[in-house]
């Protein structure tokens, strides 16, 4: 999935800056957090065994001359948690027209009911989006995710579209901040024109 990734932190400005997780990889799994690394070792002082501290091993080892390579045969037990596979494949880039069509479709549908000023503001931002796309200022990831967003918009999957917009704002704010708020508003206005047909029941919880 092109929306789950980890980038290193900003080592220039932040001393020991932690890595940055994408919006998609930070989703809460729900419930209390599981603390996998939570065990401690008792110091053998008081538990009646009377044992002294384990005798220290060779403490300050001399650097080996002619360093031995690491063992090849031993099976290293994996870490506690499974690794998420990273996404390597690059899909073909979507065309701008494919992305543009549902966006303007939604905008035109709104023109009857939504104030002109707002529609104009949204359109201004969509134009800015277009300019940035066509002048190569947007990354592949942004283009792909906007394509998915526009498809969700076409299919009236408001929540999904909203979620993609949020993910883009969190992960690529520098590229999208100027125009994304227009897309956000577009989703909100289009949604209120088409109220949800079903009320979903939430079982139990």
């Amino acid at each position: 999935m092109s929306d789950r990734f980890v980038k290193p932190g900003n080592q220039e400005h932040g001393w020991n800056d932690p890595p940055q997780f994408s919006y998609g990889s930070q989703k809460d799994s729900g419930g209390p957090k599981r603390n996998i690394l939570n065990k401690r070792v008792h110091a053998p002082q008081f538990t009646g065994s009377g044992a002294e501290m384990p005798s220290p091993s060779v403490a300050m080892p001399t650097p080996p001359r002619g360093m031995n390579p690491p063992p090849m045969d031993s099976i290293t037990p994996p870490s506690v948690c499974p690794k998420t596979p990273s996404d390597g494949k690059m899909e073909t880039e979507p065309s701008f027209e494919d992305v543009q069509e549902p966006l303007y479709g939604a905008l035109n549908a709104c023109r009857h009911t939504v104030k002109k000023q707002i529609c104009d503001d949204v359109e201004r931002r969509l134009k800015l989006f277009e300019d940035m796309w066509k002048s190569g200022k947007l990354s592949h990831l942004v283009k792909h995710r906007m394509h998915r967003l526009s498809q969700d918009l076409k299919r009236k999957n408001w929540d999904a579209a909203d979620e993609i917009h949020r993910g883009l704002m969190v992960d690529h704010v520098a590229e999208v901040s100027q125009w994304m708020v227009g897309v956000k508003r577009l989703i909100a206005e289009a949604r209120s024109l088409n109220p949800e047909q079903n009320i979903c029941t939430d079982p139990g919880s």
């Binding site: 001393w15 890595p19 940055q20 930070q26 809460d28 501290m53 403490a59 690491p70 870490s79 704010v173």
Partner: protein
């Protein structure tokens, strides 16, 4: 012992409560002899996805001719906060919707890169806020600007001098605000009034486009800063205006003031340092020598603001991103009295700030914010117990009554507190006093009971009540001391005592606190250890108690009680986190976790001791504030030689990756984001590991902490073994 551990864990999972003693000594005299008081850690909003909210007032259908009550036959949309009446099919709103308020207070005196990163983070946050939340903006530098939102096409703002404080009344007049009509005193269920928005705080869905542009156009403070000077930053007045603005318009609904600070306040009330760079901001040394010119006045200013905010149920967060100190010491009441967040980073252009800030807006599985606002907590006790007080992010509501003890601990003299901001991790410590007279009979099978009642504004806008009631058995300490001893929760006790120690350290002199802590430890050993008098080698502690001295050893060396290795702001920050985290995280802060990775077996926990540092191992240390991955000497040489890139040595690549993956698990959910340190044998950053481990081997002592003057009973630079030996000697001594 195994059964008690399970009991303790089950209770924590269900109730969010951990007690120092789970069987209570039945008389006051005996209770004082236990050394560690009967006390509990309590997480009011502990996540219980299986616990549905119960409507405490019947929720009625809004159709005037229907008025049926919400019931299990109704279809409910939790996301859209709607329910459909099954009698008349009307769609209704769930509960009274009080909007959430967010007021951003933004410093503009910073480098352009920094400001740009901050602006982007704020724009991003508009996408994370719920559409109905109200949002406002105040910017400051030399002057303070209150921005009017929603004026079509034109940006308007009110500009205030940064040198002069304003009362709420003056502010009200200057901004042309009228206080909303007082809520009608009605009969029956009170429907809280929804306050209207005003020109300065507007719904996100209405002004998000305008505000995005407004943020995008923010410029660095235009007042020129000459060589050798600091920018003039009027933080004190800016915060005062923020508090006043919300006081006038949204008193008693949940609100969050988020202050983003790029440096210290250098002008006006609340200034913490002058504008000459050659005069540095106060250090602990300056404070000790009473040489901190601005500290008292500034602290008073922010404390007054904090109390006003708390009285109104408003939260103050501080996001301080600068390489030098910003005055967190003086401002700590703002966050600690209101339950607001204190975040300390080097710059806004770091992932530490950006991700920590994102996580403020984390949602739960139902899609609601985890943050809760405008909370109050009341405790009721059965008559044998009284409440001494609370230590945590709260203020007193001064509610007197039969449950309230005269012996105050922390925020005492009350049975009710206000916690303006809380989330599922917020944990308070409560201290109790057993008041039964000695030799008063205990009713057969009698149990003491405590009830915690938490009311708060859920992020959906709805007011909720959560009630936790617990009971524990009484025991006569004269005849049943074993059952009381077996009920000891050494982890909870360690943190409860630690909070007491830190609370004292903030109000008293440092060495006195260490002496007090040592005395309590010795008394506990004398009371509950097995030994022959004057024979230190005979001393034994059961497993129920054996970790406790270790915790105390590490606590004494920790940044919570040892301040001279840190700046005043750093100490304040560490203490702030310590005084609100749950038990597991607090323990990590006191005694960091250390895991070892090697070819010899699966990853395993190891002693926090220098003997655990071996050349063919990788160590992962979690101190809560830092995650350190340390490569032993041999591993480091292999890494430098590039064996991980060779296909035949794939298992070495896996070994290097294993601690990184486990660290990511920790980084995924921790709030605030910790620093992340990748280091190796001989690396300068290895000091983070070396300063935490017990220096059990003499040639490693060159990395141990420096000498302390004014030695308490047990000296500070000793190893755990020497500490334990000393402790045993003092515990068994008949002279003590």
């Amino acid at each position: 012992m195994a059964t008690f551990q399970e009991f303790i864990q089950q209770n924590e999972d269900r109730d969010g409560v951990r007690f120092s003693w789970n069987v209570w000594p039945s008389s006051r005299l005996e209770a004082t002899r236990m050394v560690v008081p009967v006390a509990s850690l309590f997480t009011p909003l502990k996540e219980r996805p299986d616990l549905p909210p119960i409507q405490y007032e019947p929720v009625l259908c809004s159709r005037a001719t229907c008025r049926a009550v919400l019931n299990p036959l109704c279809q409910v949309d939790y996301r859209a906060k709607l329910w459909a009446c099954n009698f008349c099919y009307q769609r209704n709103q769930r509960g009274p919707q009080m909007p959430l308020n967010f007021l951003y207070v933004v410093d503009t005196c910073m480098e352009d890169d920094d400001l740009q990163a901050l602006k982007e983070s704020l724009q991003m946050s508009l996408s994370l806020l719920p559409p109905t939340a109200l949002v406002g903006l105040i910017t400051f530098g030399r002057m303070v600007q209150v921005h009017e939102l929603g004026c079509e096409g034109i940006s308007k703002s009110y500009v205030f001098r940064g040198t002069k404080d304003l009362s709420a009344k003056q502010l009200q007049e200057m901004l042309g605000l009228t206080k909303p009509a007082a809520a009608q005193a009605g009969r029956g269920p009170q429907q809280p009034q929804v306050p209207p928005s005003n020109r300065f705080l507007q719904p996100v869905q209405k002004i998000d486009m305008n505000l995005t542009d407004l943020l995008g156009e923010l410029q660095r403070d235009p007042w020129p800063v000459t060589q050798g000077k600091r920018p003039l930053r009027s933080l004190g007045v800016a915060l005062s205006i923020a508090v006043g603005l919300l006081e006038c318009t949204f008193s008693n609904t949940g609100a969050r003031i988020m202050a983003f600070i790029g440096g210290p306040a250098t002008q006006g009330p609340g200034m913490v340092v002058g504008d000459e760079l050659k005069t540095p901001i106060r250090s602990w040394h300056d404070i000790e020598k009473d040489n901190a010119k601005f500290m008292k006045k500034a602290t008073k200013h922010y404390e007054a603001l904090a109390n006003r905010a708390a009285a109104n149920g408003h939260i103050i967060d501080i996001y301080a991103c600068a390489l030098d100190q910003t005055g967190l010491l003086e401002m700590k009441c703002c966050t600690n009295h209101t339950g607001g967040y204190m975040v300390m980073a080097d710059s806004f252009n770091t992932s530490l700030f950006k991700q920590t800030f994102q996580r403020v807006f984390t949602k739960d599985v139902q899609g609601s914010f985890k943050m809760a606002l405008a909370g109050t907590l009341e405790i009721k006790t059965s008559r044998e117990i009284k409440i001494s007080g609370a230590i945590g992010p709260c203020v007193s509501l001064n509610a007197k009554g039969p449950c309230v003890s005269e012996n105050e601990i922390g925020t005492g003299g009350t049975s009710q507190w206000k916690i303006c901001g809380l989330d599922p991790n917020t944990t308070l410590a409560f201290y109790f006093e057993v008041v039964n007279q000695h030799n008063a009979p205990i009713p057969q099978g009698g149990r003491g009971a405590i009830q915690y009642v938490t009311q708060y504004q859920h992020s959906s806008g709805q007011r909720r009540i959560r009630v936790t009631t617990i009971a524990r058995n009484w025991a006569d300490a004269q005849t049943q001391i074993q059952s009381i001893a077996a009920s000891f929760d050494q982890e909870a006790a360690a943190i409860l005592m630690a909070r007491l120690a830190v609370y004292r350290a903030e109000t008293e002199e440092g060495p006195d606190v260490l002496r007090w802590l040592d005395r309590q430890l010795i008394r506990l050993c004398q009371k509950f250890g097995d030994y022959h008098k004057d024979d230190p080698n005979s001393f034994r502690f059961s497993e129920t108690f054996s970790l406790y001295p270790q915790f105390m050893f590490h606590l004494r060396r920790s940044p919570f009680l040892q301040v001279f290795n840190n700046s005043p702001d750093e100490s304040t920050y560490y203490r702030h986190q310590f005084m609100r985290q749950d038990l597991t995280q607090s323990l990590i802060m006191v005694q960091p976790i250390l895991y070892a990775y090697s070819f010899n077996g699966p990853p395993e926990p190891v002693l926090l001791d220098s003997s655990s540092i071996l050349p063919d191992r990788i160590l992962l240390m979690d101190t809560f504030f830092q995650i350190v991955i340390y490569h032993g000497e041999t591993v480091s040489q292999w890494r430098k030689a590039g064996y991980q890139d060779m296909p035949e040595y794939e298992n070495f690549r896996h070994l290097l990756q294993a601690p990184v993956d486990d660290a990511q698990e920790l980084l995924h959910t921790r709030f605030p984001m910790p620093r992340y340190i990748d280091t190796e044998h001989g690396g300068s950053q290895a000091r983070f590991l070396l300063s935490k481990v017990n220096p059990s081997q003499t040639h490693n002592n060159m990395y141990a902490w420096g000498q302390e003057s004014g030695a308490p009973i047990l000296t500070d630079d000793v190893s755990l073994q020497v500490f334990m030996d000393h402790l045993k000697k003092l515990a068994v001594s008949s002279a003590a």
